[in-house]
Chain length 193, copies 2
Amino acid sequence: MGTIRLRRFIQDMTRLVEAGGAEACLSQGASLLRQLVATADWLPPAFAEAGPRYRQYLLHCDPFERFSLVSFVWGKGQRTPIHDHGVWGLVGQLRGAEVSTEYRLGPAGTPPRPGRRDSLRPGEVATVSQATYDIHTVENAAPEVSISIHCYGGNIGAIRRRSFDPETGAAQAFVSGYANDTLPNIWAGSPAA
Amino acid sequence: MGTIRLRRFIQDMTRLVEAGGAEACLSQGASLLRQLVATADWLPPAFAEAGPRYRQYLLHCDPFERFSLVSFVWGKGQRTPIHDHGVWGLVGQLRGAEVSTEYRLGPAGTPPRPGRRDSLRPGEVATVSQATYDIHTVENAAPEVSISIHCYGGNIGAIRRRSFDPETGAAQAFVSGYANDTLPNIWAGSPAA
Ligand SMILES: [Fe+3]
Ligand SMILES: [Fe+3]
Ligand SMILES: [Mg+2]
């Protein structure tokens, strides 16, 4: 059952990126992601394990890197640095709760200033993009493990991005990578598997 | 290194199935598969383990099931029943040695008769299709574990196929499924992964 849900999302999202256009991917992708995070039972436990830092498990990447789907797992109190993406992104809350806080860069040497805050409860979806905001922090707002499912308009683990010093706003390049060497086999639900 | 090799095959094969045509997939796919099995170091050990029966590990399935890539792992003496595919297929030998023997169905109640035999050494590629032959057995022809990499024009683990009784030729439906719940993460080779 679970793998079929994930499979449908991947198929529908592949059709969206083939049709092209970041706006359509964001608006129609948000509907798809809302359906995906409407239940939490489909994520295999191997992609839901918390660690000493928040973890990013790749669930699927389009063969041409037009989109990727990632399970973010946050232990209690864990949060990201201030960072950007450079591609559109969708965040769907699966379990727990998270807060995304926008940051705006000021003059060189000054702290980035917080902007919009998005609080996410299970089943809710938020977006990042050049059209809304691209620089933020995300933090676990629940007293236990939180899990969100992210979909990005690229292979997010391989994209050269920037994090920003909270005191000076100074940018530093980073590539996040992924925590996992294996992906869910969404085609495993056949007899004799 | 290894995951990049696999990634390239998947990208190139996706372009081939998008262009369409079983003949192009077979002829150009054979070249791609020959490159893939030219070295054997890229297959992660989790997809190279033999079991009490031969195993079929899915490595990748196209989101629209236009092709699948499978690692077949054969213990000493293991062989398939006589079976068909219903889609084009490419078999590339990675380690060890295998023999594919064509079978032709006779009148009802009579044994299928063996036809063409393909002996495969590491680096070699054979094909199955309606244009050559679609019914065969495959057996491990080496005194140790053999591994071949198969690419099919569909999601082979989910296709309803037929096996044939060696005495009577009677057909029985089967769906092979896959041995694995996780796939290789071909995008894992990023920093901080
Ligand atoms: Fe982010
Ligand atoms: Fe076969
Ligand atoms: Mg030969």
